[in-house]
């Protein structure tokens, strides 16, 4: 009998080998904790096991979802009146990481031949927080869509109002809502896609104002944060209490859509809202 030349490595040796694998090669899903080779996340950047959509740069989202994207208000950014050094450092870092000047990327684009107005919030831009320029960009997007009779598709991802800008950021909730209302009154379609995470002031305004509300699998969607609930009223929320699946169960989402099917689903919705004369 041939002697096996393979010798089982010791436990310590295995641990050493695991440690030698560079971090970016392996990835762990924050939802189901499945560990997999990063490349398996694929073009859509999703967990191969549970379908969770990893947080995505706005630029990349636009690239993978739309055609012929024309950016609007590219230069709109945080007003100079906010001079706090720490805040300025955060802004500089956010711009560098995301390649955009505010926490939302807006523009017009084509999706399966339908002209649409598009807003994509960037979770890597100070947590997609709603600053005054963010609100201004989204407001202008809705105003343009109303003028040009375009549907709006909004991907939300935000920690809520941006506290560094004080009450002005809270006022953005009202400002954007008024533009959403005018768009709606003109009989135009507004589709929201709730992405991970959508919380606070964004949930309490334009994220919940859509005609059609979609969400990505396992996205965190809520108003009050887990820690706020724990610290304010000493209640221990269950693990999934703000997952897209739970929120859908309670009646606030039309459908949860896998990232791979998102484009097709949006195209279908645009088709379903085409007017009889053929204009979208």
């Amino acid at each position: 009998m041939l002697q096996s030349r393979f010798k089982m490595p010791s436990h310590d040796e295995l641990v050493k080998r695991m440690d030698a694998i560079p971090d970016h090669v392996l990835r762990e899903c924050p939802i189901c904790h499945y560990k997999f080779l990063s490349m398996r996340a694929g073009r859509n950047n999703t967990c191969p096991k549970c379908g969770y959509g990893f947080r995505m740069l706005a630029k990349r989202r636009v690239k993978t979802t739309f055609d012929k994207f024309t950016e609007l208000d590219r230069d709109l950014t945080v007003p100079d009146r906010y001079t706090d050094e720490k805040y300025r450092a955060k802004i500089a870092k956010a711009k560098k990481v995301t390649g955009i000047n505010e926490s939302v990327l807006t523009g017009t684009a084509l999706l399966d031949k339908h002209a649409v107005a598009v807003g994509v919030m960037d979770p890597f831009w100070i947590m997609g927080s709603l600053g005054s320029a963010t609100g201004e960009k989204i407001t202008r997007l809705f105003e343009l869509a109303t003028r040009k009779q375009l549907p709006v598709i909004m991907f939300t991802a935000s920690g809520g109002a941006r506290m560094q800008e004080g009450l002005n950021s809270l006022m953005q909730m009202a400002k954007v809502s008024s533009a959403v209302a005018a768009h709606s009154k003109a009989g135009l379609l507004y589709i929201v896609v709730l992405c991970d995470p959508t919380t606070g002031g964004v949930t309490a305004s334009f994220a919940m104002d859509g005609d059609i509300t979609l969400a990505e699998p396992h996205a965190l969607i809520g108003f009050a944060g887990r820690r706020v609930i724990e610290q304010t009223i000493m209640q221990r929320p269950p693990k999934d209490f703000q997952s897209a699946e739970t929120v859908m169960k309670h009646g606030f989402i039309d459908q949860i859509v896998n990232r791979a099917d998102m484009k097709e689903t949006l195209a279908k919705l645009l088709l379903l809202h085409t007017r009889e004369n053929g204009n979208g």
Binding site: M163, S169, L170, S178, S205, I233, Q235, F252
Partner: protein, 256 residues
């Protein structure tokens, strides 16, 4: 008006003997008829509302009421409305629109109630509806921030034509304690947090976010001046054509 630091305003806004919303309604209106329930599932006691006469004018009042003792605070969950509360407010405001009654909102809340049940019942959606529908109401709609104006939970009732604040009140994107713990991981730095948040009536008046500071009323004070002031506001706003009223309101927010 006495000069106070931002943190003194915070303390003033949270004072236990602050005039209650119930006392304001009682002092400002006659023949008040309280209304209950959101017509969907519950009656939230943090959110009070009803119809009353202000001088001779029927108005709808919605207010967020804190408790005056522990039992009442538990019943009203410390003046933090649940989604049912916001839906009740919206129901009463839509009803006001139907009967062409002006709306007076009186706010004293640390914020929307943060619990699991409220999340399940769509706290975000309930506040969002108050905002987007409130802004389109075709009747005069004014808000007075009486004590605390805590974040989205206060904004839900402050999307009208004019917003006023009592001297000892605050209106803030989050609590100074929350800000301090996020910024410096140190909730003891509340005084600095209060300064940086710009939450005082003086600072918000300067920013044009509110229209006027109203002097503080104590429990038991005669409210005639305040009653006259509110009545004048409604008279002025009622003289506008409805489209103009709503346009003006939306323009107010477009400026922020």
């Amino acid at each position: 008006m006495v000069n106070k630091t931002a943190y003194q305003r915070v303390q003033g806004a949270r004072r236990k003997d602050k005039i209650s919303i119930a006392a304001l309604i009682d002092g400002l209106t006659t023949d008040f008829f309280e209304q209950h329930g959101d017509r969907l599932e519950a009656d939230d006691h943090a959110l009070v509302g009803g119809i009353g006469l202000l001088k001779k004018r029927p108005i709808t009042v919605v207010g967020i009421q804190k408790g005056r003792d522990t039992d009442e605070n538990i019943d009203r969950h410390f003046g933090s409305p649940t989604p049912e509360g916001y839906r009740k407010a919206l129901r009463l405001m839509k009803q006001a629109e139907k009967f062409r009654r002006p709306i007076l909102a009186l706010v004293n809340t640390p914020g929307a109630w943060p619990d699991v049940e409220s999340e399940y019942h769509g706290q975000g959606s309930a506040v969002a509806q108050c905002i987007i529908q409130g802004m389109q109401l075709k009747v005069p709609y004014i808000t007075i921030i009486v004590g605390e104006g805590g974040s989205g939970g206060a904004l839900a009732l402050a999307c009208g034509d004019r917003v006023f604040m009592f001297e000892d009140s605050i209106y803030s994107v989050l609590s100074p304690e929350g800000y301090a713990s996020i910024m410096w991981k140190d909730s003891a730095k509340v005084q600095q947090a209060a300064e940086e948040l710009g939450l005082t009536p003086e600072s918000l008046l300067k920013d044009g976010i509110i229209n006027k500071i109203i002097h503080e009323y104590q429990p038991g004070d005669d409210l005639s001046d305040l009653r006259n002031f509110i009545d004048d506001q409604f008279t002025e706003l009622s003289s506008l054509p409805v489209n103009e009223l709503v346009d003006q309101r939306q323009r107010r927010f477009q400026n922020f």
